[in-house]
Subunit: 355 residues, 4 copies
Amino acid sequence: MAKPLRLAVAGVGNNISALLQGIYYYRTLIADGADTNKLPGIRHFKIGDFAIGDIELVAAFDVQPEKIGLPIEKAIFCAPNNYPNLGLDIPHSTTIVHNGVHLADKGVMGQAGVATELRQSEADVLLYSLPTGLQRAADAYAECALEAGVSFVNCTPEAVARNPEHLQRFEERGLSLIGDDLASHMGTSMLHRAILDLLINRGLTLENTYQLNLGGNEDFRNLQNRGESKTVSKRNALARTGLDMNRVHVIPSAGVVPHLQDRKVAYLNVIGRGWANMPISIDLKLEVQDSSNAAGVIIDLIRIAASARRRGLAGFNAAAASFLKSPPHGHLADEQERELAELRRLNAACAQELV
Amino acid sequence: MAKPLRLAVAGVGNNISALLQGIYYYRTLIADGADTNKLPGIRHFKIGDFAIGDIELVAAFDVQPEKIGLPIEKAIFCAPNNYPNLGLDIPHSTTIVHNGVHLADKGVMGQAGVATELRQSEADVLLYSLPTGLQRAADAYAECALEAGVSFVNCTPEAVARNPEHLQRFEERGLSLIGDDLASHMGTSMLHRAILDLLINRGLTLENTYQLNLGGNEDFRNLQNRGESKTVSKRNALARTGLDMNRVHVIPSAGVVPHLQDRKVAYLNVIGRGWANMPISIDLKLEVQDSSNAAGVIIDLIRIAASARRRGLAGFNAAAASFLKSPPHGHLADEQERELAELRRLNAACAQELV
Amino acid sequence: MAKPLRLAVAGVGNNISALLQGIYYYRTLIADGADTNKLPGIRHFKIGDFAIGDIELVAAFDVQPEKIGLPIEKAIFCAPNNYPNLGLDIPHSTTIVHNGVHLADKGVMGQAGVATELRQSEADVLLYSLPTGLQRAADAYAECALEAGVSFVNCTPEAVARNPEHLQRFEERGLSLIGDDLASHMGTSMLHRAILDLLINRGLTLENTYQLNLGGNEDFRNLQNRGESKTVSKRNALARTGLDMNRVHVIPSAGVVPHLQDRKVAYLNVIGRGWANMPISIDLKLEVQDSSNAAGVIIDLIRIAASARRRGLAGFNAAAASFLKSPPHGHLADEQERELAELRRLNAACAQELV
Amino acid sequence: MAKPLRLAVAGVGNNISALLQGIYYYRTLIADGADTNKLPGIRHFKIGDFAIGDIELVAAFDVQPEKIGLPIEKAIFCAPNNYPNLGLDIPHSTTIVHNGVHLADKGVMGQAGVATELRQSEADVLLYSLPTGLQRAADAYAECALEAGVSFVNCTPEAVARNPEHLQRFEERGLSLIGDDLASHMGTSMLHRAILDLLINRGLTLENTYQLNLGGNEDFRNLQNRGESKTVSKRNALARTGLDMNRVHVIPSAGVVPHLQDRKVAYLNVIGRGWANMPISIDLKLEVQDSSNAAGVIIDLIRIAASARRRGLAGFNAAAASFLKSPPHGHLADEQERELAELRRLNAACAQELV
């Protein structure tokens, strides 16, 4: 690998555990001679300058006392993190978890320290992956990134990339800003939507449908209290022409089942009507590793952010839209085409440079 | 309604029971003032000249002694037919089931009588819906249709529309020939395919998958012995770029469960691999009314056949391709666009005529 | 039938709708000559003096303005009741819903009126079936029953039969008192327990298990807020020797799905370990009509209460224990034997009388 | 451990792989200090003289050329065996797989050699575990055991223990004879039966039910052709008073899904009727490791056989009945009590001896 992607992370939760362990998992596979076109769970082996393994974690921030001061490869296993330990032999890292931005009564504390640390780390990208709902923290980390000249990727529903002011400032600084909110690598909403689309495209009539989600990680605990906005967001993900949304029922968190840990279980039921009003029923159970679902998307977003910037493309990059729930300009009809065109452009620019 | 579609049927099985009862079901709904754009299970309320209810059954052929001589509204309830009796008050019909084409040691018997009856009935379309596997019967009924000047729709996998000789002769006679083999209104294969497509498009890796189907009607009994060709056909329906077919297992008939009668149950299991090789599993149960799944497609095919012919369009019509498993020219990449364009053309031609 | 059971009801919800419609359903079946030993969903065609149809609803109390003043066969279909209308031709009844006991800041109002009405109705049994959680209302209706000389059956978790004072007073008055809290005719807990019992009896080891319940009626809406006590009660129902309850997770109401109406859906997952620690997994979906699940038990409880009293047996009757979640003396090891012996005793006493 | 159980095996298939690997798995757990009362998947840590690990494999017979001559810890991994390799470090064994009994046109070949080898091995028990359907082989191995003075445990449906002649001869020789046909440690039939029992005991009515089984090992391949007898046997396992067997449909092998290997998947569906004829539906998926399901029962049967014989108890031992599908005297009502009493007797006799 040429020059690796230098990654900083705000929040050392399950997503970072999945990301870091996964990078080592794939490095090992590749070192063992695996076919790089057939790596499990990988959409693009290379994006722009970076293959799957070409990422170094150079800075990390958190506010949990148990994590602060630990090298990153240890911090990812601190409770309440519960992404499985894959038992890989991750080499000792000199990257230590630093005290991050703290919310105070008014404003935040610790922002200056984070900005300094970020600048010294020479990071390409700051990945923002704190628990959902902390808008002030998201804004503060975005400021740190601007100050340190680091691109920014926002995993959460907080408004950062779709805040026009933020977007303009990152553009002016020549930095990438990618967000907001990850679309799962393979999630309940997209599966539910694929089935409803099929039903409607074939001319059957939706009688009614429900979707419910269960999990055992902190996200599910948070959702118990903040289910309202998540319900809206999940219903939006299903809405489409020809679908009567009164017949669609979504339960983002049906409860916390601690032993599921970082796994997520969803149940779907779809009742439709076919010829002569005859019923058709579909029952589905989905089980996924929640944070792998995030990391499988993060791996592409950070590479897009870093490659675009190196190519002189600042702000939001269209190659990222289908990986996000709320991109700045919404979802466009020709999103997939734009995405592929943009990826080709990044890859071509990068290939040319090598000559 | 102006001039109804005059339909003849070869084979008075569950499909015809579903079709005939369904037509009366929708006529009743419409008479009761139902919104014709929201009829349950209907893709197109009107195709060309014909709304859903504008179909008259004018001739019927079968070889089962119990059915021959009965008016059609009684014959559809003779065992082994087991599509549910919807309890509609179908008016007494003067259409009596006639003795159909019989297979003899060499060739067939009864073809002349069928052709005569067909001509006298002034049918627009002959719908061929015998049990799977009777190529000689399919050919004989096609001859009868040619002789009587009637268009032909083939519900079965037998090669009729994709037999170039047949196709040329129907074209020369100015008759429609639509086939072969119905694609279900909403079937296991298309649901399985939608899920596998999603998995692969999102960059996950298929570990393995199986699909199994259960039912209680004659089709399932036949499949027990002729599963081989059905397995191939179902596997073809799933094949696509990027999918390792060694990891796909299809069981067209896992057994006959008599009490399911004309309902069909399918179980799907999909195991994939996401980021860091973490497993994702999907388990799905589908339950449908098997013959409603056929009738929901037949209703469009016969209207396309009759409308096209009235517009002077002979042979196969592109509007039918996505309703068929084996159309004469295979499935084209722009099939859906062609279909919609062709439907618009039929509808426009028909509207003009009214002026 | 000799002399029918005269039933009064406190609360005219789904349970009463199911009970009343069911009684007419079975009366019709029996009148049409059905084999009384094969009535669907019936454990005992006759208990003591009373066959399934030998029940008259002679008084009814509720506080919902829309229901008060209506004849009972109309009141059972007032929203929010949503048990299905079975379309039976229930004859017009002279039993009108009366204003029931109201909760006031201190104590209750309307108790005197209820007692008077109850006495005039000459009811054998008062069935208490208000929403869960109204202990004061339960106590007040018990007082009314005592005052009017009417036996009492408590469908709810409120402590009535297991309140020793109440029990003693009913005994002294020669009245039956049956409670507390119905065990479903066929519920999630008993199915879950049957599977866990099997696992443990066969020597496998429970890894972990969860159960979740969904519904669309008022009970599920109530449970959203009062899930705590229901969780405890449901966990108690599963507890047994050899089962590590830390591995058992119960979600009484995973959410309200309005279109389910009075149907209830439960999902169970059980992961066990067999020989060489190999995993065994069980996934189960249960769907039932929630209030049929209650009425199928109520029908036996009221007949036990009335027959026992007529035989001079006051207080709690052991024949009822297995139909209840919290009988006064808990569940005994030989409960089933006692129940059958007691039923035989009731039936024998009743048969003798006829001589 | 005192004196281990010396085990000989006829047939080195998945069952033996599961048994041998499991024994080493538990030995390791115990050596690491595991609580012997909480070993996963173990019903009895000790039976008579033998704890879980106190078993030595001293002779093995098979006819597959690839297995003959290999040490047993290698032979268990020869295809078509596909029980998973648990990755345990099984110590090299001096027990080599010998050529077993071959079926000839008339009678068998190789019986004398097996008997000699068996005698020299000083085995306590010969475990017969060949593919189903080879009655002559079962008889021949039973003769070898008689000749060599070795007790016999029959895992297959072949009639050995329920052949009165065999039973008498083993009794006369003072040898144990345990059979026939294993009841799974946790199988589809017992789960199906538990659910149907619950339904009927609660007074609900069975509308209909089906059960289907899928797998990927040789047993499932064999069942495809010999499903008839297995269907009968599985239906027998479900039959009980009050259950209309016309409403029960069993498919022993719905197909072979190679990638399932030694795992087995079963789907159950139960439709019942409750109060007022309201439907209740149960859908269940079971997934188990097929040969762990056998080994978890074998471990108890061989210990019963060896302990009983050492205590001077010849012939069939009542402690084994509930582990078998077809014990010599059928299943008795008080089977469970007899079993526990017999186990206590064996354990007591053994304890006394130590004094």
